[in-house]
């Protein structure tokens, strides 16, 4: 359907205007100007911020530079989460541009994963895709692909090539017609008001008696707090790619169209803004 394909493009080409400011305690030889960048929602911070690093390195000495990391309002940003997820989770209802602070020292070892090279990002990305396929197809589709096909998925993401990526990814979105959908839906629900980083469980898109599960069904089963009852005002927003899909949306459709390139549905549950 023409409409559905447009959704794929809209998701892929989503951007977040961001302002990077150097942390005030970093040692510089002269004042560092902020750096502005449009970040792809579906990519990863460490993959798209080489320019940011180069910009700030111009005013710093090499010995004062260790691994770059980012925070937003004091919270270290996990580079292994897609950028759009980080924004929806932490900065949804704040003013644009998104203001991120850049650090080159005091890497928070406990909280952040190291990212010494793009190979680490690739490994993480492919690992997510494989896990998603384990859920959707018992790993059969991903295992039938060749190494060069895996590479094409990664290169498509790295180089922002929608067609190259989807030429391969469409195979991961297929399912036997008689099944009606994937075996299980790859999803993670992220909560801001919990110690636990996310909820991930086994959940079928189609029940054994043929009923099509919706986003609302998923939430009711896995995180019922997200759904307020009719008589009380809405406490939480359920956000995917910066929008609040209707709770009646079929989960299978969401998985095929609103997943990230890693094939997971990353769902943020955030406090609704008080008016």
């Amino acid at each position: 359907m023409a409409d559905d394909k447009d959704v794929l493009r809209d998701v892929w080409f989503g951007r977040i205007p961001t302002c990077f400011t150097l942390y005030q305690d970093e040692i510089t030889e002269r004042e560092a100007e902020p750096f502005y960048l449009l970040l792809p929602r579906v990519s990863y911070l460490t993959l798209v911020t080489d320019k940011v690093k180069k910009h700030f390195l111009k005013v710093m000495k090499a010995e004062d530079v260790e691994e770059m990391w980012f925070d937003f309002e004091g919270t270290p940003l996990k580079w292994h989460y897609p950028i759009g997820l980080l924004f929806d989770l932490h900065a949804s209802n704040t003013a644009l541009p998104w203001s991120i602070t850049v650090h080159f020292k005091n890497f928070p070892e406990r909280d952040l994963l190291h990212c010494p090279s793009n190979s680490v990002i690739e490994a993480h990305f492919m690992s997510s895709i494989k896990e998603a396929d384990a859920l959707k197809h018992k790993s059969q589709v991903i295992n039938d692909m060749q190494k060069k096909d895996h590479k094409q998925l990664w290169m498509g993401l790295q180089n922002d090539k929608f067609d190259q990526f989807w030429a391969m990814n469409r195979k991961l979105m297929e399912y036997p017609t008689e099944e009606g959908g994937f075996r299980y839906i790859p999803f993670r629900i992220y909560l801001t008001m919990s110690d636990r980083p996310f909820i991930q469980k086994l959940f079928r898109p189609i029940s054994s008696d043929g009923y099509t599960h919706t986003l609302g069904d998923l939430l009711k089963e896995v995180y019922p707090m997200a759904i307020s009852s009719d008589d009380e005002s809405k406490r939480y927003q359920v956000v995917i790619h910066g929008i609040e899909p209707l709770l009646e949306t079929p989960l299978q459709w969401l998985s095929e169209h609103l997943s990230h390139p890693d094939n997971f549905l990353h769902i943020s549950v955030i406090p609704a803004p008080s008016d």
Binding site: R110, D111, S117, E122, H124, K130, S139, P197
Partner: protein, 311 residues
């Protein structure tokens, strides 16, 4: 995980009951309930040995096994200006560079600086065993720090791996041990990748099934993966920890000429999708308590792990 799929290796694990056949490959996978039961049985034995395993539960979510231990590892130490270091045993090491085809634009420092030497030192390890619903296997998470509290970086962890396992890591470093976020705590841990678990579990479980031996999935699995990262599993685990009880299948009972431990029955190993609620026990020996509670190992010896058929 780019290998060929084993035919039928991920067959259905529905709650709609299937009779597990003798060499059903689905038996190399583990459902969450059985995972918990296996862990509880392991814990009981651990308590008797006082070797430090505990069960942790994050509020409102799944539980996991946890243990801390001191071990040895190879850590980097920073050389001072004169090239001296406080450590006694030093070797120059070449920093591990795993070749890749990428054009890395990185000019930022990696987590381990080049001008260092590596030495054997005491390392504090913390091990967690979690259940992965995606792969339906257990997963080993761990972190390591020096006694001064500095976290080891990935290269140091690789250096610390037992030489017997090094070759595998060198060929596919990103496939075996990587740094990941702990799914329940949100903190940085190292992980042994679970996607190849069935490769080594399947032969073991199959052999146990054919020889009518008990296998506690977690104990077996841990005895394979643990030593890679410095976690030893004493032999008594393999002989003393039973598998969780099951509802009986239609497979025939072996003649039991020796008294069987309470939870013993020639069932396929733990992962068959049986609801673990109480059901009649196989009529092998003394009356059984409900099957959902873990049984203490009986005083009669278990068949030895590499053992012979009973009777």
């Amino acid at each position: 995980m780019a290998g060929r799929p084993t035919p039928g290796c991920l067959s259905d694990l529905e709650m709609e009951s299937e009779e597990p056949t003798e060499v059903e490959m689905s038996s190399c996978f583990l459902d969450e309930e059985t995972f918990c039961q296996c862990c509880q049985l392991l814990l009981q034995h651990s308590h008797s040995l006082c070797d430090g395993w505990s069960w942790e539960q994050v509020k409102g979510s799944e539980g996991y096994l946890r243990k801390t231990a001191l071990g040895t590892g190879r850590t980097r130490c920073i050389l001072d200006q004169q090239g001296n270091s406080s450590d006694q045993h030093q070797e120059r090491t070449f920093s591990l560079s795993f070749h890749n085809d990428e054009d890395d634009e990185d000019d930022g420092a990696v987590c381990c600086i080049q001008e260092e030497s590596s030495s054997s030192s005491v390392v504090q390890y913390e091990y967690h065993i979690l259940y992965s619903c995606s792969y339906q296997t257990p997963v080993l998470y761990f972190r390591a720090s020096t006694l001064e509290g500095r976290s080891l970086c990935l290269e140091e962890v690789w250096d610390s791996v037992h030489p017997n396992y090094r070759q595998r890591l060198q060929h596919r470093p990103w496939d075996t041990i990587t740094q990941q976020e702990h799914p329940l705590l949100g903190q940085s841990f190292f992980v042994l990748h679970p996607c190849r678990t069935e490769e080594f579990m399947m032969p073991v479980l199959k052999a146990a099934l054919e020889e009518h031996r008990q296998v506690n999935y977690i104990v077996t699995w841990l005895s394979v993966v643990g030593p890679v990262v410095g976690l030893d599993v004493p032999l008594s685990y393999c002989t003393q920890v039973p598998e969780p009880p099951h509802t009986p299948s239609s497979s025939p009972q072996p003649p039991s000429s020796s008294p069987q431990p309470p939870s013993s029955s020639p069932q396929p190993p733990s992962s068959s999708p049986q609801p673990p609620s109480s059901s009649p026990q196989p009529p092998s020996s003394s009356p059984q308590p409900p099957s959902s509670s873990p049984q203490p190992p009986s005083s009669s010896p278990q068949p030895p792990a590499l053992g012979t058929k009973p009777g």
